[in-house]
Symmetry: C2
Subunit: 308 residues, 2 copies
């Protein structure tokens, strides 16, 4: 490596209120959820995934989606997005005035079937119905999960991911995020896929969503950054579904990403101290610790050293 | 980044038996320590820091250094090193037939004083005495701790680190390792220092020892690798002194490093499954969990996925 270039600014989308809270056994109060989103916008997160319009029978944690959207204070400049699994969810979402809607499907057929009980073709058909209903009135983005590997099928061919992304773009979806749903991506794979994606879909603002089950999320973020990516999804405290171990988390912690990026001189616009204070309150609500390392260690050097 | 090159093979030095165990409140049995080192060599770790010849009053955990060295089975090809703080320690170490001796000092004066109660100049004088005593009969390496930042002084100038390394090399020390003792290094800093070090001291096989207090260790390893470094120090399970939080660890976990490197196609020679089994037994001995993510998640994809 002779010279190392990377974007000087990145855009983070905070997914803790949705991706994080939906995985928690406890259903938090609506008032606290509203406060959490407002604290996140006050901390400078430019984009926040507020909630998910899934069936309350499936995910009771998200049953108050309309109330949360109605309760939050819309900070000028902050983009509030919501996750939508189907047309029914989109209808509900549109009554709440989100700034954008996010759809999701898997790059691997088995995971898509287990996750949303549809084939990939059925998911794409559903998306077309949603795009028609939205009819260009609001930006729609999509997350391709298991883009770096599937817990059922193993490796996922790059070309499948790129073909899927192309079909999504062709139906009017402007922004694609690739998810490493089970934390199996590695930096070389990330560099290769990011570079190829940017080559074949240069008009798309690619996002990456890394899971940290094996501690690789920050290394993968760094690899993506070095390959030119500048949009990432993270969750406060590193909360989020971990199928492995309670408290071990799944999502890359927003604090850890912000700390790394800002220390390298990459601008996030996020106030780390406010973020850490917000995590402290979140821990009180959840009743358990969170995996973020920066939350534990603090965002600054400390006045106590280890011994060699 | 147009093309991404990195070494195809790295050399890991396992420091768990020394750097890890010295930070534990419990003093483990000598027989178990011997077993641990033998398990590590059987798992393919090419270099193992077995113990430290410090005063037993200072570190009762290392009081059985001679017995551990006498007990281990010397696996052909494995390099067994010991840490030595002073001439007295070197005298003791030399009776046990280590393959190499490691010295250490801080890049920052305050940390060196707090850690070993000497000025940096006094440490260097001590090293010269040890080098005379060893008189070329055994390789001597050195670790420069706080090389990326000091908990007392804050930033550490690159030039100080390079000057110190030059003085060590001039007295016959062949190998230098730079330690991020409190986990404050960031990837850009790592790339810069590694590149400069290799430019001014091309004859030295540079090593890096990253701490993971803020979750940055793997990202820093990746940055160092991309800058051409190919030698790293890690500790089984991620054990080691954390001034912050019990169980949160300090050292980069060997499992996590091996998983990342091998997944990228970088050869370590380490059998990850054997390593994970060894960590399982270590946890039983320590009586607490360890921070390694790969230990928790497993080194392979699992047959259970999260939901998006």
């Amino acid at each position: 490596m002779e010279q190392w270039d990377y974007p000087s600014t990145v855009s983070l989308r905070e997914v803790g209120p949705r991706d994080g809270l939906q995985a928690e056994p406890v259903v938090l109060d609506t008032a606290y959820k509203v406060q959490l989103v407002d604290q996140l916008s006050a901390a400078g997160l430019p984009r926040i995934e507020v909630t998910s319009f899934v069936s309350p029978e499936w995910l009771p944690q998200m049953a108050d989606a309309e109330a949360v959207m109605a309760g939050i204070a819309r900070r000028p400049g902050t983009v509030y997005s919501v996750l939508v699994p189907n047309l029914r969810g989109a209808e509900r979402a549109l009554t709440t005035g989100p700034d954008e809607i996010t759809l999701f499907l898997s790059a691997s057929a088995t995971h898509n079937m287990k996750n949303v009980h549809r084939s990939i073709a059925e998911s794409l058909t559903g998306f077309r119905g949603i795009m028609e209903r939205v009819s260009g009135n609001i930006p729609v983005s999509a997350v391709i999960v298991t883009a770096f590997g599937c817990p059922y099928e193993g490796g996922v061919p790059e070309q499948n991911v790129l073909n899927l992304a192309r079909q999504l773009v062709d139906m009017g979806i402007a922004e694609i995020t690739l998810g490493d749903t089970v934390g199996v991506a590695h930096p070389r794979q990330v560099v290769n896929l990011v570079q190829r994606f940017q080559m074949v879909l240069p008009e798309v603002h690619l996002g990456l969503h890394f899971h940290d089950n094996r501690g690789t999320a920050l290394a993968n973020l760094l690899a993506a950054l070095a390959a030119g990516a500048s949009r990432f999804e993270t969750a406060l405290g590193g909360i989020g579904g971990s199928p492995f171990s309670p408290g071990a988390g799944g999502n890359l912690a927003t604090e850890d990403a912000v700390y790394l990026l800002e220390s390298m001189g990459v601008h996030t616009g996020v106030d780390l101290e406010k973020l850490i204070a917000t995590t402290g309150q979140l821990i009180g609500q959840l009743g358990h610790s969170v995996p973020s390392r920066v939350y534990l260690a603090g965002g600054r050097m400390v006045a106590k050293g280890g011994t060699q």
